[in-house]
Subunit: 110 residues, 2 copies
DNA sequence: AATATATCTAACCTTTATGTAAGTACCTTA
DNA sequence: TAAGGTACTTACATAAAGGTTAGATATATT
């Protein structure tokens, strides 16, 4: 068991823990994914249910998640604009991870 | 609306996801916990199986984990010094979380 | 003409995280 | 006397993340 462990870590590229963390590990990302959850949600509404986040960071994180195919975006050609976000199939797979972290936090951290 | 609500939701104190992330979310923390795993391990050995980490960061993270009771440390009064680290009961509970992240990374990220 | 609306975009700054390199302590062995 | 082993510790520098403020857009409404 010990030898395999060493192999997993060697670089950022081939370490799945690092890859996951670099995508999901920021201050807001998991909260965004959790809020989107299984619904379609507009930008403004999403912003409204994540108090404290700045527009810059919200857009930045959404774009990053879109690039990595965890979130899909649909823009409607209207004025004022309307944009809907939803989780992709992959994005939906983060929900159990979030649940695990929630339980860990609730049960073990002060 | 803002002051009370903002404070409550924005702080790590009241959000279990944020609490978990602020403890586990850095670049090296989960790798350290995974390497310690179910064994006792000396500082130098641990360092040896996490290539690329600096001594400063390793010590810093270990101390942080000790403060938060995920890791326990035992020093032997010898020269040269000998120190052993192991996961506490709580620390062991991070192993499934790490496994989940690993699987997510392997299955879903390039 | 001014205002409202929703979704961004940019410039700038502060805070936090991580990296680098050198040094410390103490005893043992050569 | 010097070198070596182990586990740190410190000072300093850089990089990454996040926060603040202002503004761009394009149309409908007043």
């Amino acid at each position: 068991m010990e030898k395999n462990q060493k192999k997993i870590i060697q670089s950022d590229e081939n370490c799945p823990v690092r890859k996951s963390l670099s995508l999901l590990g920021g201050k807001w990302t998991l909260l965004i994914l959790f809020q989107i959850n299984e619904r379609k949600i507009r930008y403004g509404e999403l912003k409204g249910c994540i108090p404290g986040i700045s527009e810059k960071v919200l857009i930045q994180k959404l774009n990053h998640l879109i690039e990595n195919k965890l979130v899909a975006k649909k823009s409607y050609p209207e004025i004022p604009p309307r944009v809907e976000y939803r989780l992709t199939k992959i994005g939906l797979k983060t929900l159990p991870v979030i649940e695990n972290l929630t339980i860990f936090g609730l049960e073990n951290l002060d």
